[in-house]
Structures are given as C-alpha cells and as structure tokens.
Symmetry: C2
Subunit: 268 residues, 2 copies
C-alpha cells in the first residue's frame, strides 16, 4: 500500500522535484506487527535531514499514523520519502510549494529475514564515493553512487559491498554503516565527507556510550579494517551483522556482534 | 502536455527508480515552431548518458515524435527523462525492467526569451562540486548540488552562479557551461571530475574546430577566468551569453559572444 500526501495512490506528479533532481530525503524502517521500529530515532533523523535541505518536515504524528497504516501485518519495511514537491522547471526552489510525502510498504528483503546471528560475506567496491560535506550524512534521494556500486556484483552470496571515498578512506557499505572492534575499542568511519549516517549507527554509538565502550569515529584506510578483531555492518532492516569474510580476509566471532545486537534494542 | 511511455499522463509510478535514487538521465531542449532544436546532438548525448549508466536508450524516432507531440506551438522547452523504471526496493538494478520514458513541455524561462545579445550578470557560488569521475559529464537525475547552489541567491538580476569543485578548480554554471577567451584562445573547463557536458558546449567545441579557433579544455582556478578577455555561458535554452559582470569584475564586449553565437547555429 502507498500513501501520497495521505491519500492511497500509486503514483506521484511527473513534475515532482524528487524525480527531476532527487530533491528530497528518505527513510527505510523495519516494522514489526504493524509498528515501526525505532520510530523516535527515525523521525529525528528525518527531521534533521529535512532541515539540512531546508525542507519542511511533516508532522511526526501524521507520519507515524501513515507508517502504521501502510505497514504489513507481520515483519516488513516502510519507506518514507519527503520531496520539495511539484515546482516549475529549473533548479531554483520556489520556496512556496508544499513538500510531497510518500509512505509505502515493501516486504522484508531476503537478507533481513534470516537469523541475525548469521554472519555475512562482503566485498570491496571499486567505485569511490565523492566527497561532498554539504550532503554528507544525509539520506537524500541522490543515490546513483549506491546504484553503481551495488551493480558491481550479482553473486547472491555476497550481501554487502564496502566503499572508500575518493581519498581512499573507508566510509561504509552500499546499504549499511560499518563498525569494527580492535583491542576493546569500537570504530566507525567519520561521515563528514560522504556516506549516510543511519539510525542503527546512531543507536549503536549511543549504546556504546551508555555501556562505557570506548568509541572512535575516524577516517581510516582499508588496512585498519583488515586489522580488526571483528567487523560488522548495521542498518535498520538487518540490525548488526558480523562480516565473516571480506575478499580474501576471514574473521571468527569474538562476541562483539552479539553484544552490539543486544545493545541496539535496549531503548526505543 | 506530458507523455509517460508514450501515453498522455501527468504522473509516474511511486516506485520508479528515478524518484527513489535519481537513477536516470535527462535532457532539456529548446523547441522552435514545434520542432526540437539540435535534435541529433541531444539524442546522441542522451544515448551516451544512458550507456554510461547502462540504461536502454529509447529509439530515436520514438523520442523525436514524442518531443514534437508535446512541444508548444511557438518557442518552448521540452524535457526528456529516462529512468531505470519501476523496480523492487533496494539499490541493485534488476536488469529486467523496462526504462521509464517521460517527455514533457514547459514554457521558455524568462532569461531565455530575451535578445541573445544581451549580456548577463553572474556570481560565484560557495558550494563546491564533489569530484566523481564515474558520473562526471553525465546529465543524470542526481542534481541536489545544483539545487543547493541555485538556492544561494534570489536576486532576479543575477542569471547564473559559477561553481568550482572541491579542489577549487572552475567547472561551470549551475545551469550552463562556461567558456572564456584570452589572447585569441577559447577556454572551457575540463569536466572529467564533475559538471555536465551540455550540448551547447559540444556544439561550440565543434564549431571552434571547424573555424580554426584554438581551444583549450583545462582545470584552472578562478583567477584564470578573471584574466579573460571575454567570459560566456551557454546552454541549449539561452545559446551563448556574454557575462558582463561577475562579482566585482566587469567586462566589455570584444566580439567573441557574437562570433560563437553565430557558430552555434551553423549546423543542425
């Protein structure tokens, strides 16, 4: 089911700026028994992303109601898209137009349905992410880099591709954020230049602080990852997953993934 | 009037990858008496951009017919958008889906209707374009940088904003390509890292070769532009326009704009 500005509808205006320029932001949420998981964090992130692009974020209660309305009965996915709406041709935002609000549901992808303790295989992508501080961290609709990176492989056994930026620094996965542990310290890439700062990442950083786990947010080359004790990806659909294999490198479990998966669900 | 996959329709599927990821390309053409101007160049560029993203470019005759069908009777604008079509959620292109083809008309913007000999005022934008060789030159649907740059000013007397990349090298205008002349040589920025290689630029480079005008395509800082004898912007809607003023800098005409505007229309 799909709601466009609150109305059941399977299409959007052909002149929408979301299509013309990718002028908007989105969120992908997991739902459980018809309820969006981690709603407060998702709404806060959506509101921050809207603010970064000077989009008027719809009211929280309205979006929550619509997310519940479209959610599948069991476990599923809800996607929320906010665009700058229908405008005249040309890059200039007219300012007056109302945002378009799209809320749609989708089935859980195969890799998100399996047991969360199951480790995954990842690979390196050759595409390097462009560095754009003005858009870094935001989950906006300009995602051609992710599409090109994801098109680099079609082996269904490989769940994720890892990306560096054009300086060769590790940023994260095509559809996930990256964490690794070494000598008792939890690392995650600095997303000040590119990448998407996902809600699972935010929740893990908060959980680490709560549990007194030392954390470092850094710009580091791939060699730093290969020296990790445990490597993990995370997002709102899959939780935390251990990376057992990355190219030629292999890791055995050391307990970090289980700890962080538990921590991820500690608060709402 | 708008055609979606050949049918009169003012909307597109809410699950289109053009909206979800900006996964597509577009062209903006000027039409004159119901006919698209510079059609061969536009179609060739569209086909090349589609190929770069591994999109199946629609047949030339089909698109030409549709562009004529939507064109206004007098002078106007036709926009063609090709997306990867409707797909399942997730970045992976499924490969099997048909592209979406959107052909729509719009009135000529105010700045494109005036006498082409009229010089314009430009400014520098503070946004710096990210460097992404994999997408450089392509007129794709990921245009948030252009939107943010265009939002930097609202003075209607300023027609264009000029952009550098994150290395501080001049790339071009928000909606146009840039040329300048110095000591008999015609310069335009190298677009190997970012920017859109427009059809007017292609036509000017071809015209310069035909007329024996020495040309240099280079990565240069803003100081190179300030030392120009004449500075010009170009695109398919406005042709070539002389920049009379850029921030505090002013230029008097030296004849280059008139020469290049004539050259721009020499072939079809």
């Amino acid at each position: 089911m799909t709601l466009v500005n609150g109305q059941p509808c399977e299409s959007i205006d052909a002149h929408d700026r979301g299509l013309a320029y990718g002028d908007g932001v989105f969120r992908t949420l997991r739902t459980q028994a018809g309820q969006p998981l981690w709603w407060s964090d998702h709404y806060a992130t959506l509101a921050a992303d809207c603010a970064a692009l000077k989009l008027a974020c719809p009211d929280e209660a309205v979006l929550h109601r619509e997310a519940c309305a479209v959610a599948e009965a069991g476990a599923g996915v809800v996607k929320i898209v906010i665009t700058r709406g229908v405008g005249v041709r040309g890059y200039a935002p007219s300012g007056g137009q109302a945002v378009t609000r799209l809320v749609l549901s989708a089935p859980l992808p195969p890799h998100a349905g399996a047991d969360a303790s199951q480790a995954i295989t990842a690979r390196w992508c050759s595409l390097q992410l462009a560095r754009q501080p003005r858009l870094a961290g935001i989950k906006h609709l300009n995602r051609l880099e992710n599409v090109l990176a994801r098109a680099e492989w079609d082996d269904p056994a490989i769940i994720e591709g890892l990306l560096c930026d054009t300086d060769g620094m590790v940023i994260g996965g095509v559809m996930s954020n990256l964490f690794w542990a070494r000598d008792g310290v939890l690392f995650t890439p600095d997303l000040g230049q590119c990448g998407v700062a996902g809600v699972a990442r935010t929740r893990l950083l908060r959980a680490a602080a709560r549990r007194g786990i030392p954390t470092r947010i850094e710009r580091l080359p791939p060699a730093a990852i290969l020296a990790a004790d445990e490597l993990m990806i995370c997002n709102s659909l899959i939780g935390v997953r251990r990376v057992a294999r990355l190219g030629d490198a292999n890791w055995s479990p050391t307990g970090w993934t289980d700890t962080l998966n538990a921590a991820l669900y500690e608060d709402n």
